[in-house]
């Protein structure tokens, strides 16, 4: 692993550690959004368990997206993004380091928290397991795709909502396969196909997204 890659990773993790509340809030957002639905929809367990895969995945999507809006914004505002662009290192590399740090800090906790919320929605045990697997395979794609949106909207006002507009449509395949995996296992079918598709999404994103993100960053810093 490259030295600069590790530096950026370490820096972002250190920053997250200094601001532990940021990490906590992603989790709480996920938690609160997924707890709002029973309040709006009513406590019927049968209904809740049938909508659980969809609701949990939508909550994960939104939590990921909202925490991503600021992925590059702070670096942009204080000028350290400029410095990163001027480092004698390929920018794609540094971008992956930042995205990976973000995933470790925001994606992984959501994955680990999800089964707990699944329980509240009366999901059976094997569906919970599939849920964790699906999130584990799918959330990297969310982070990678979201990074493109974050980079494109840097320094644009009202960028929070704009990112949503750009990124959510691109998230849809992940949502469909992710929720599909859980639903399949709820209906007693194999979730294998869905999970493979999720992994494929993440791989494709890993190949293409950092390049697009790096290009977008260069455009935004002009």
């Amino acid at each position: 692993m490259n030295n600069a890659w590790l530096t950026v990773l370490k820096r972002d993790l250190l920053l997250a550690l200094r601001r532990r509340s940021d990490v906590a809030t992603t989790l709480f957002f996920f938690l609160i959004v997924s707890s709002l639905f029973p309040l709006g929809i009513g406590p019927e367990p049968a209904v809740l368990s049938s909508i659980a895969p969809g609701v949990l995945w939508v909550a994960a999507l939104l939590a990921g997206m909202i925490s991503l809006t600021r992925l590059f914004a702070a670096d942009f505002e204080d000028g350290s993004l400029e410095q990163m662009l001027l480092a004698p290192q390929p920018l794609t590399l540094l971008v992956t380091a930042k995205v990976f740090a973000h995933w470790l800090v925001c994606g992984l906790p959501v994955v680990l928290l999800a089964p707990l919320i699944g329980l509240q929605y009366a999901l059976p045990g094997d569906a919970l397991l599939v849920l964790v697997w699906a999130l584990l395979l799918g959330t990297p794609a969310l982070s990678l795709i979201g990074a493109i949106g974050a980079a494109l909207t840097l320094g644009v006002r009202g960028s929070g909502l704009l990112v949503a507009l750009l990124v959510l449509p691109l998230y849809i395949p992940v949502l469909i396969f992710g929720a599909g995996a859980v639903a399949a296992s709820q209906n007693g079918m194999s979730a294998q196909a869905h999970l493979s598709l999720l992994a494929a999404c993440s791989l494709l994103a890993l190949v293409l997204a950092p390049m697009a993100t790096a290009a977008a960053l260069k455009v935004s810093v002009e």
């Binding site: 493109i148 494109l152 909207t153 644009v156 006002r157 009202g158 704009l162 507009l165 750009l166 959510l168 449509p169 691109l170 849809i172 395949p173 469909i176 396969f177 599909g180 639903a183 399949a184 209906n187 598709l197 999404c201 494709l204 293409l208 697009a212 290009a215 977008a216 455009v219 935004s220 002009e222």
Partner: protein, 247 residues
């Protein structure tokens, strides 16, 4: 200010050229439209299942086709603009987007207007409908991104990147939505229910689609001229043009 603002094609020469092309495409559009409308209302027979409601097909299907084709063309222009740093290409992409969004909206609305009498519902979450809705979101994202960036050069490049990412995603979205819809409960409505299309219907649809094509080109040229005027308002050639305008 005699620097070359445009490396590959200058708006100064393209502006009048586009102006000359517009009437031609407008006339072609009108001709195809008249022919298409004649077939759709005068020649095409009544459908024995759907009654006269099926005549919506003559706007719905061409609009749906155009919505998809325009996105691809737009992304191609954007890619060209990005690769060659050619601004005219980026402007073409920008000029196509609103028209594409309008056709997408038309496909959605006319589809809904067809669905209500046929299915009894304005909307169902069918694969094709859903992917058309997502296509609308992609258009809107492109437009919103471009309009919220003030520096035209930056807007061009950011928009181009987004269009490219979108074009990679469109097939993925299309198939994922298709599988989503067929893997679980089969949709209660079968889109293939429309009868085998008679030759006349196909001709009608093709003529209307051609009319929409020509219209799209004409309108995109009009819009690209506006964009040129707005971006280059302080350049000499625009000032010279504006002298003849009464204010």
């Amino acid at each position: 200010m005699s620097i070359h603002w445009f490396k590959y094609s200058s708006p100064q020469t393209f502006y009048p050229l586009a102006g000359k092309m517009i009437p031609w495409f407008a006339w072609l559009a009108t001709i195809f439209l008249v022919a298409g409308l004649y077939i759709s209302f005068a020649i095409a027979p009544t459908d024995f299942q759907q009654g006269e409601a099926y005549r919506i097909i003559f706007v719905h299907v061409p609009a749906a086709w155009m919505s998809m084709v325009i996105y691809i063309v737009m992304a191609a222009w954007a890619a060209l603009g990005l690769a060659l740093n050619a601004r005219l290409s980026a402007m073409m992409a920008q000029a196509l987007a609103p028209t594409g969004a309008i056709f997408t909206l038309l496909a959605l609305v006319t589809g809904s207007l067809w669905g209500k009498p046929m299915w009894g519902a304005w909307w169902v979450w069918d694969a094709r409908l859903t992917s058309e809705l997502i296509l609308l979101f992609l258009y809107l994202g492109f437009i919103a991104l471009q309009s919220s960036i003030d520096d035209p050069r930056r807007a061009d490049r950011a928009g181009a990147l987004l269009a490219l990412v979108g074009v990679v995603n469109v097939p993925i979205i299309y198939f994922s939505v298709k599988w989503w819809n067929t893997l679980h409960q089969g949709s209660s409505i079968n889109m293939g229910a429309a009868p085998k299309m008679a030759m006349t219907m196909l001709t009608g649809m093709l003529l209307m689609a051609l009319a929409f094509w020509m219209y799209t080109i004409a309108v995109a040229l009009m819009r690209v001229r506006c964009i040129m005027l707005e971006r280059e308002r302080s350049s000499d050639w625009v000032k010279a043009l504006s002298v003849g305008v009464k204010s």
